[in-house]
């Protein structure tokens, strides 16, 4: 039921979940081996939220995650907020026009596109904010591209894992076949 008490509970749950996700992203993943720091769990989670709920909920998450990541990282403030917002909008348009949320391949294509667009938006927004605030530009050396490539691969692997986990828990992603009568 949509009572104020339930709404507050839902809000608290979502805020705590976003905080934990950012702590895992910034703290845990950056300490792990294999270059797992490149995994953008926040982005993968955001796309899952978009696919399984709707754009409105996903937008709230984008604002929350972007704000927290801007606080706990040294990118110019606003770079994550804008990049998450723009990536989400792009993913939403792709999902509406080209992809379905019932196929793993389509889902992976969406994650791959979102990862590429996210890096692109982050680069542009960070560059623009740095330009406006007079800070140093983003280093586009070999490491940046290696990191971006690794992020794409790890995001896809994480998406497959979450997809199958979700598949195991619910029937939502199971294929539905129409029967001829």
């Amino acid at each position: 039921m949509n009572t104020p008490k339930n709404n507050y509970r839902l809000l608290t749950f979502n805020v705590l979940a976003a905080l934990i996700l950012v702590f895992i992203q910034q703290g845990l993943l950056t300490g792990l081996p294999f270059g797992l720091a490149s995994l953008n769990l926040a982005l993968v989670a955001l796309i899952f939220i978009l696919v399984f709920t709707d754009l409105e909920v996903a937008f709230y998450w984008a604002v929350g995650l972007g704000f927290l990541l801007d606080l706990f990282t040294f990118y110019p403030f606003g770079a994550h907020l804008l990049s998450f917002g723009l990536t989400l909008l792009t993913a939403f348009l792709l999902l509406e026009k080209f992809f379905t949320n019932r196929s793993l391949y389509s889902f992976l294509a969406l994650i791959a596109a979102a990862s590429v667009f996210y890096q692109l938006f982050l680069l542009i927004t960070a560059g623009l904010i740095n330009l406006l605030t007079g800070a140093a530009g983003v280093d586009l050396g070999l490491n940046f591209w290696l990191f971006a490539g690794r992020e794409l691969v790890f995001n896809l692997v994480a998406a497959i894992a979450i997809y199958y986990f979700q598949n195991f828990l619910s029937n939502r992603l199971k294929p539905v076949f129409l029967q001829k009568i």
Partner: protein
């Protein structure tokens, strides 16, 4: 999926722009301060858990012959014991000479203990670390960061109120004025290379430097005291046609499993 009007989407982006503007006008500072204060211990905790997993993984996969490694350490301990005894004698001698000359002891450095709360998510993820103290604690760009044992690990490049970003000595962003611990005290400039080693440049061709010699900070930089150990020379590149020679330095500290460090205060 629910349809969304352009108006709803523009409201969201307006909200994002408003948050950014409020941040730059300082209106969000109290909220940000609270979140940083509350969040820092959690980020540090998660990071040290991640480092423990990395350590476990490294131990399982390193395949190092522990017996052989133990023997090497034993022989190193013996050598170091002799060295310590010799240095103690020198220290006493130095102390007495300083007393005679009424020389002020400049070696006492003020250190601030910091937790490494994460590695930056930027492109050079493994070459910058985030510290859980910032400008509010008296930290500023340019201050050196050392490991628990006092070996140099990097330098602060940027600060926020309760966070600092430090580049590691193997990062190309990290440069130090350094000197080789040889007879001539050869000076040069170090810069991280590929996130793995350090390169010391601008060493005059006439200087003789050897593999295995220690490289320390020269003290020619503001806020960086003399004698912070960068590493050992592993290779010397000397070409007659070049104006300068260079050396590759191996860091003595494992930069991958840092959890706690100290900032050398001015």
């Amino acid at each position: 999926m629910k349809k969304f009007s352009l108006r709803t989407i523009s409201y969201f982006f307006a909200a994002i722009i408003l948050i950014i503007l409020l941040h730059y006008f300082g209106a969000l500072s109290p909220v940000e301060r609270v979140l940083e204060r509350v969040g820092n211990p959690f980020v540090s905790g998660f990071h040290s858990f991640g480092i423990r997993i990395r350590d476990f993984y490294d131990r399982q996969t390193s395949g190092v012959d522990l017996e052989k490694e133990n023997q090497n350490f034993q022989s190193q301990i013996e050598q170091l014991t002799v060295e310590v005894a010799r240095l103690r004698t020198l220290e006493e001698e130095n102390k007495s000479l300083r007393e005679q000359l009424d020389f002020r002891n400049k070696e006492k450095r003020q250190l601030m203990l910091v937790n490494i709360s994460s590695r930056a998510l930027a492109g050079d993820a493994n070459q910058t670390v985030t510290l859980d103290r910032g400008s509010a604690d008296g930290l500023s760009a340019g201050l050196p960061v050392v490991s628990g044992a006092g070996l140099l690990i990097g330098k602060i490049v940027e600060t926020k109120e309760h966070l600092s970003l430090a580049c590691l000595i193997t990062s190309s962003r990290c440069q130090f004025a350094a000197t080789v611990e040889n007879k001539n005290k050869t000076i040069g400039l170090t810069k991280g290379e590929l996130g793995l080693t350090i390169k010391m440049d601008f060493i005059p061709q006439s200087e003789v430097i050897n593999q295995g010699e220690l490289v320390v900070t020269s003290g020619l930089e503001q806020n960086v005291p003399r004698g912070l150990v960068l590493g050992k020379i592993s290779q010397v590149q000397k070409l007659n046609k070049e104006l300068w020679q260079s050396a590759t330095i191996e860091p003595l500290v494992n930069l991958n499993d840092l959890v706690i460090a100290s900032v050398v205060l001015p």
